[in-house]
Amino acid sequence: MSEDIKRFMYINRRAPHGTIYAWESLEVVLIGAAFDQDVSLAFFDDGVYQLLKSQDTSGIETKNFSPTYSALGDYDVTKLYVEQESLEERGLTLDDLMDLKWEDEDDDWAEKDSIRLVSRAELKEVLEQQDIVFSF
């Protein structure tokens, strides 16, 4: 890894709606993807709700931006860490989340899972490896 590449981590701890943090976090991720840095996202606490499948915001008249997460793979944003405990505390499993994939050009464009289920302890290790941590 080149010296001028930093490890960027975007922490998402809030529900997708109720406040604008989740949506504006995603905007930073999309812009940041153009900078060729090493990018990871972490979802814990209510942030895991951001990745729920079949979101429908028509009842609250706000923009449903959840389809944007599916595009992250095309931006080379391929590491989405989801904390197991946060899912369990909310009665959720991996099956409740969107099936997010990315294509690995170094592996004959094989489709791979973007979501990496990690324990709280494992996530701590991941966070400790980062250079820049954005918290939303």
């Binding site: 960027f8 604008i20 504006e24 812009i31 940041g32 900078f35």
Partner: protein, 130 residues
Amino acid sequence: MKFSIQVNEGPYQHQATDSAYQFTKAALENGHEIYRVFFYHDGVNNGTKLTTPPQDDRNVVNRWSELAKEHDLDMVVCVAAAQRRGIVDEGEMQRNGKDAENIAEGFRISGLGQLIEAGVQSDRLVVFGD
């Protein structure tokens, strides 16, 4: 050390901007460099010159402007967040067909790339908010 600062909350509603200001000031007084202060989310409301707090309270906006003038600070307001919240400079006024601008002295409106670049260029990016 070279710091960049991110301010994610609006003035008066939340102490984050006060803490960010105090941190920035202290860092400068202690000989550190502030590469950039970036205002995001409701933090963009730190950049409106229309703010008029009661006279016996601190003026959060003017305080930033004075610090910027004194130390030649680069204070950037995110354009996407600013457009949503009505923070407008001359260029944005013309581009979006508005009849007023309200950007405070020392602030400039630019893109999120400035935040990422600040992260790349600085030794530490310090985020103020919840």
